[in-house]
Point group: C2
Chain length 293, copies 2
DNA sequence: TAAAAATACTCCATAGGTATTTTAT
DNA sequence: ATAAAATACCTATGGAGTATTTTTA
């Protein structure tokens, strides 16, 4: 059985005439008779009662198959449409990774724009570290990732979606509180709270270099993996921290943010994807982000 | 698009290999590539990511279409099966007419046997007079009818499914009550309650003839259309009635049934259907009734 | 180099056309 | 006599085969 058998049968069942149906189908009558006969042979039952002169009529089986055939063709049309929409990237799900520290930067803005432009798309956001995101991309559990450089694995494509400077986070009880921009030299003797080096070795090392350039030796305490936790520790008076500027949005009672006058590393945020053909949805998101960023 | 496109795509999507799928489908690999390419062209989207050497993989649209295609083929199989069952008369609905007076004769037994043998079939029973049944048969609102002869229209096929004699229904307060078989002569001067002639002219006239053969003149009162009503009138003492023997099953307080010694017309019950091809279900019922009756 | 898919061609099975017959009104 | 479906036969589109090329690991 083939789809045209369904189409032909529906035409005959609706016209109740082989001649009329053939006309509607833009074919001649004899092949239509043949095709219907094939269909009946395959189903093992008559679908139509016909005899020259008398009016053609559906059998009970024919009435059933008419319903079924219509439902099947409708289903086919819907399937095609759904597939096309998925192909055009208008619907579907896309998995996007991001680090917890990005929750206050540009990433939410970028994603918000994409959501507005593509309401049929479900964004599945997964919070993970840069290293975890790289693994997940390769394992195909992520379509896209928002990471910090440097990336360990090759074979990724990236797009820079934002850079931000570092600011100093200090408790409001601190002597430097209330003053305007701070020089690194003023931090002599302070405990600097920071993230474990393995989370972002590149940024970690560049930060350290910036401090030593300023002729400063500091006690570095790798206390917390989450920037939010570091801010909480600052608040508790355990030290000061140098964090991405966007963290200033996390206004927290008892913590102040000060810009730094000395050269400090810039944190880049990268949109990262596998170097093979990205899904239409991933392409759309890349495109949307490129336009916004 | 044709069904084989669905089958081919499912094979490739499941094997994730054109070569493997071609093997499973018992065709060679190149035509399979061609067919999938056709399908992708028609859908306007890639369904599979492939490149010699690399492993073949589904695109997002491909994953969607795989689901859809499987559902469509499943639906097709179910549709075929349902149509076949209908064609074999294993399921469906059949409309059967019968007169109200048949409710106590052989008809319920015949239908009960059919029901047991064909549990998938819904019997739609419609109570109507013989004349109404004839019209309904021609109008195709009935598939089969249980009628009393004679039929007015030609073009019907019939099968006799039972004959029954007539018995006398009398009030138990009547002088004849309690005695054994009755002679028609004993009814001299009685009021005979009967159905309107138009309901069954043949039976009516034969009954009248039987009475006059016995040299009897009677007051005929066409009081009621339903035999049950006539029995009620007998009970009320408005007269006596000659009714089909099966009515004796309607045991009613205050009414007695006596057999009649003189020759009386025999009531035939006919199973009637149109002279064109009856539906498989109708055929099954005719067959069932023929075997039982 | 070896594999897997794509391309190029060839062939034939069958969908569809034309002519005609059959059948019922 | 007419009209509709079935039958017979022919044509040609396109599905499937074989041979070969392309591509990437």
């Amino acid at each position: 059985m083939e789809i045209h058998h369904l189409r032909y049968f529906i035409a005959v069942a609706e016209e109740l005439s082989f001649r009329g149906a053939a006309e509607r189908l833009h074919i001649s009558q004899p092949p239509l008779s043949v095709q219907i006969a094939q269909l009946e042979r395959e189903l093992g039952t008559r679908l139509l009662e016909r005899s020259a002169g008398k009016t053609t009529r559906l059998t009970a089986a024919g009435a059933v198959f008419l319903d079924e055939a219509r439902a099947l063709l409708d289903g086919l049309d819907r399937s095609i449409e759904r597939t096309r929409r998925t192909g055009r990237g208008e619907v579907g799900t896309i998995s996007v990774g991001l680090t917890s520290s990005m929750a206050y930067g540009v990433v939410p803005l970028l994603l918000r724009d994409f959501r507005r432009a593509h309401p049929g798309v479900t964004l599945q956001l997964l919070e993970m570290t840069t290293a975890q995101q790289e693994k997940a991309l390769l394992a195909r559990t992520l379509d896209l990732a928002f990471c910090y450089p440097p990336l360990e694995n090759p074979g990724f494509k990236t797009r820079n979606v934002g850079e931000e400077g570092m600011v100093l986070a200090i408790p409001d009880s601190h002597p430097l509180a209330g003053t305007r921009p701070v020089r690194v030299g003023e931090l002599q003797g302070e405990t600097i709270l920071t993230f474990p080096r393995h989370l972002s070795p590149g940024l970690f090392d560049r930060m350290l270099a910036a401090f030593s350039m300023a002729g400063l030796t500091l006690r570095i305490a790798e206390e917390a993996t989450q920037l939010q936790t570091i801010i909480a520790l600052v608040c508790a008076g355990l030290g000061v921290a140098v964090v991405p500027a966007s963290m200033a949005k996390l206004a927290r009672e008892g913590v102040e943010y000060r810009s730094i006058l000395d050269p400090m590393p810039v944190v880049e945020t990268l949109l990262v994807w596998r170097d093979d053909a990205p899904s239409p949805l991933a392409q759309k998101l890349i495109q949307s982000v490129s336009k916004t960023a």
